[in-house]
Amino acid sequence: MAKYISIIFSTFLLLLSACHDTPDYKDDPLGNFDALADIVGQRYCYFEEKGIDWKAVCAKHRAKVKPETGQLELFKIMSDLLDELQDGHVNLSSRFSTSYYRKWWTDYPQDFNLRTLQQYYLDFDYMSVSGMNYKMLPDSIGYIYCPSFSNQISETSLDYVFAVLYGVEKAKGMIIDIRNNGGGLLTNINTLVGRFIDKEICGGYIRHKTGPSSDAFSEPYKITFKPADNTHVRYQGPIIVLTNRSCYSAANNFVAVMKSLPNVRICGASTGGGGGLPFSSELPNGWAIRFSACPITDSDDKPTEFGIDPSKGYEVHCTEEELAQGKDAILDFAIEVYRKAFEAADKKTQRSFNIFPY
């Protein structure tokens, strides 16, 4: 009885819901390839900016797929297809491997050596909290190294970092070093930026796909940043943010927002980009796919996918030889900027100063 009722209802439902078909792909090499091509083709957000003819690219790689293609080979073909997107936010994950596009940083100098920083500048002696390492450098410069945004930065931890550097040790300037920071939680950007502003600012815009067609995008939505409330420590003095090509995703977004603040300079090399917020999906064989879906632009609505350049006059690079000898040219440059500014201030009022006159 129950079976018959179920059949009657199923027929009734098919009549009603047939107009909203969902695609069914076969779990075979071609079915999985087609699923990947469709998912990315309908949802990826940077085809136009990168000049990619996705259908042509898919046709080229699909020709390599045969019904008898094994999993390893299929994974390689799909990875090659995804590499055409030139996007570090694109990964294909199977039970035996995860694909990455690495050229966004491997084709550029590193401009950073963690050992050099820790040994010659921090003397292996620094404080750590919430994934941030911090120390007072000579000449009253507060230094914070933030290697990742993967873990949530707590407001309380930030209060202590600022209290130690600026309340106890009376730092006069701040260096935030995010070199090699590959990103993480975007909410950390709100937490950090809120400490450096005294009024609400526009930090950028975000869009999303509104449908499968390649030009179906929403209107830009303003991303606003609010100052931390008065129960937290805020810092409004000069800040130099140190960057290299390995700053990606949320770190790239942090740089884009900080660059729009008048009391901030970006120093070092251009960041790696990663301006598209990733979306997840999966293939019939269970492999997971991640790709950029929601483009985030800067406060002038310019793309951030291809990286953020340093501030004018602040582009600095470190050679491998210098780093091996214990010299970090980017950090040295930032320290020198502060040193000169402090000297100039000492000659004048001994009090407040403006190190970024332009």
């Binding site: 107009c19 929403s218 979306f279």
Partner: protein
Amino acid sequence: MAISSIFSEMGIAQDSLPRPVTSTYRFEVGAANARSTYLSPLRYSGTLWGASGEWMKAFQKNPEHLIMTFAGGMNYRNMLNPPHSARMLGFDARFNWGLAYRWRMPNNLQLAAGGLLDINGGALYLTRNGNNPVTALASAGIDLDLSLSYHFKIGKLPILITDRLQLPVLGGFFSPQYGETFYEIYIGNHKGLAHCGWWGNNFGVNNMLSIKLDFGRTAMELGYRYDYRSVYANHLVTRTAVNSFVIGVIPQGLGLKKRVKANYAGY
């Protein structure tokens, strides 16, 4: 003979009769499947566990014909994709209040039709997704509520067979935009999230076939429930289906043994 006729012959005004609440507490377990194209193109399948309660009472104004119902329940789903490489969890809760008009018909049949105010809240959570991990199962609206009952006896044991069908008719539901992440919703972009629902974009059916055994002081219910939902908005399709076995208890019985003269709501 209809109960109302018996009461009339005895000179008992029905409005003055007590109107006991017929409470039913149910537990169910069954097979569930779900597909949300916001999360994945694959159909997940697994098991569902649910618990619910229903309270029915004859309505004061017209106790012979009007039945008031309040029900609440919650379900938990644990599902895997076809290759068993990812897990989807689901949780939802439902509350509804309704009023139905009943017709006592010959041959121990009873037909009831009415409406329900229905509120659902819950989510499907795909554990491995990053910025699009959840499809919200949130809706509110008016449902059509139909039931057909037949009671008979085997020996001295009164038995009631009921088929009850609930169909959402009009309402509202939640759906993110096609490619919108929860980060964008979190920072405040709520445009296009709420939708008016009708059968063209929010179809559902909840059918339960049950048999109730009335032991007098208590009654037992065994049933089969089929629940199907299909939502379409912003080029996204979400479909869930449940086939479950239901076991319930009615602590005070159904009144089929007529221990007390009263306006029972259950049949």
